[in-house]
Symmetry: C2
Subunit: 301 residues, 2 copies
């Protein structure tokens, strides 16, 4: 027996004053309503209604139960409606984790526009380059850059992330512009700590060597720093276009060996579940998807 349905039946019978009318109201058969009420009575061990075929009278217990059952039912309805609204209206706090450099440069306008479209959604943006555990740490969405290994999480690809080798015109004038990967050997590599372009790539060897052998080399876990260093003429950096793009467009950096550009990585939105997604999350993903497109503005140089 579904006690909630039984309670609903009982309350309907009391309100309508008849099993048949209650059944009409609940769009079911009088037989079922009768069954529900008797089951409820048996469950409670108390007679709720004195019924003749012609008239119904509440017992004392019935009166009390009716009172409180109605309250409980409206509570439940309220509760479910509230959740329904939460679901359809896209409200609540959206907790997002995002990579530091990307967020600083490109997330502000997106978030601002998103909030215009969904005023009831609050945003908590946590910048973090480590791989957060979105379930454990309570994030709704994590934006990630890289080649994602499969996991139980859902990852939606939002935009390509191109990596380019670049250096300042001054630096190139001074040290020469490499035309082939082999020529990189003597150059300074501004290394990003977590860079991984995959094995087998022509640049891979140099990249690894750069980190281990070169003297006076520079390593950072922040791409902005490396790009700034490259602009200042400190060496050659392999960095995503969403960081270097602006400097390239302004002529402060030159792209080197474009024909050897690594496979593009991608920007992903990572979230926990595909089904029963809160609509604030669903809404955000739909919103971000297509915001940058396959040729993002930061690649226009």
């Amino acid at each position: 027996m579904d006690r909630i349905e039984a309670m609903r039946a009982f309350v309907a019978v009391v309100n309508e004053g008849s099993f048949t009318r209650a059944a009409d109201r609940l769009e079911t058969s009088p037989q079922l309503v009768s069954k529900y009420v008797s089951q409820l009575e048996t469950h409670l061990g108390v007679r709720l209604l004195n019924r003749t075929t012609r008239r119904l009278n509440l017992t004392e217990a019935g009166t009390q139960y009716h009172q409180r059952a109605r309250q409980v039912l409206t509570d439940i309805d309220d509760m479910e409606h509230q959740l329904g609204d939460l679901q359809t209206q896209a409200q609540g706090l959206l907790r997002i984790s995002a990579p530091v450099s990307f967020a600083i440069r490109h997330l502000a306008p997106l978030l601002s526009e998103f909030q215009k479209a969904h005023p009831a959604v609050g945003i908590d943006l946590q910048l973090n380059d480590r791989k957060v555990d979105i379930v454990e740490e309570g994030f709704d969405i994590a934006l990630r850059i890289g080649h994602l290994k499969s996991s139980s999480l859902i990852a939606k690809r939002l935009a390509p992330v191109r990596l380019v080798l670049c250096a300042s015109p001054d630096y190139l004038k001074q040290h020469g512009t490499p035309r082939r990967p082999e020529e990189l050997g003597h150059h300074r590599y501004l290394q990003y700590s977590y860079m991984d372009i995959g094995p087998g790539h022509p640049l891979q060897k140099w990249l690894q060597a750069g980190g281990q052998e070169s003297e006076g080399s520079m390593v950072s876990n922040n791409g902005d720093v490396l790009v700034e260093a490259a602009i200042a003429g400190a060496g050659i950096a392999l960095q995503p276009t969403f960081i270097a793009g602006n400097a390239i467009r302004e002529g402060k950096l030159k792209v080197i060996l474009p024909e050897y550009e690594p496979q593009p990585m991608a920007l992903y939105a990572v979230y926990a579940h595909r089904q029963l997604l809160a609509s604030k999350v669903r809404g955000f993903i739909d919103f971000v998807d297509g915001f940058f497109g396959e040729a993002p503005y930061w690649d226009q140089f």
Copy 2:
């Protein structure tokens, strides 16, 4: 799905922080708990828990739902316990309908003793000689005297009610004491409006005739009046012993034609249902049953 059980499962999972422990607590299988929670989620259209195999985290919706669901569940539990108490403790107002003359003479001591045994039960005693509709008028019990025709009500026989023909010694001295029914013809009959001793009885003819033909006869719907009239020498009355008994014992009335005494009627407690009886009602019936016995004190003369 029983939504209440599902809610209980969800709340248990949140409280215990694990499906398996929740299942232990609810004495069911983890599989079922899992099923319940997912059904609840599907029903609500919202994900309540983010679950990895190792840890559980509430979603925003889950937090809200948990809060309110716990409230609803305790409400329901309270409600049912309250009804349970009502059931076992015998409390509330007991509404009794009883015949006027009987109640006046014999009910006060009974009720007083009953209330000593069940202090939490209040009594509303309505005296009425008409046949009340106990369901319609909201009585818990009706005491009735007579030969009950079957009905959907339950009637419990509490005591025999003997009817005796009686008159005052003075009257009998003046008009003679009848020895055979035929001799009644010339006597005055103090008639009770609702008297019915059934067809075929030797006295039946005289009783009917008494109502229709005799001049100067007396009719009343109250037995006390008729007994008082008989004591005053107004004629012969056919009245129950619980009214006339006292006068007989005191010698104010003499019993006539005892060998023609009609089949005894009975005192019944009539109530609506045999099952799921409120314990105040159950208690009263048990109490009254046997209080008077097969040879009630009013028959001792």
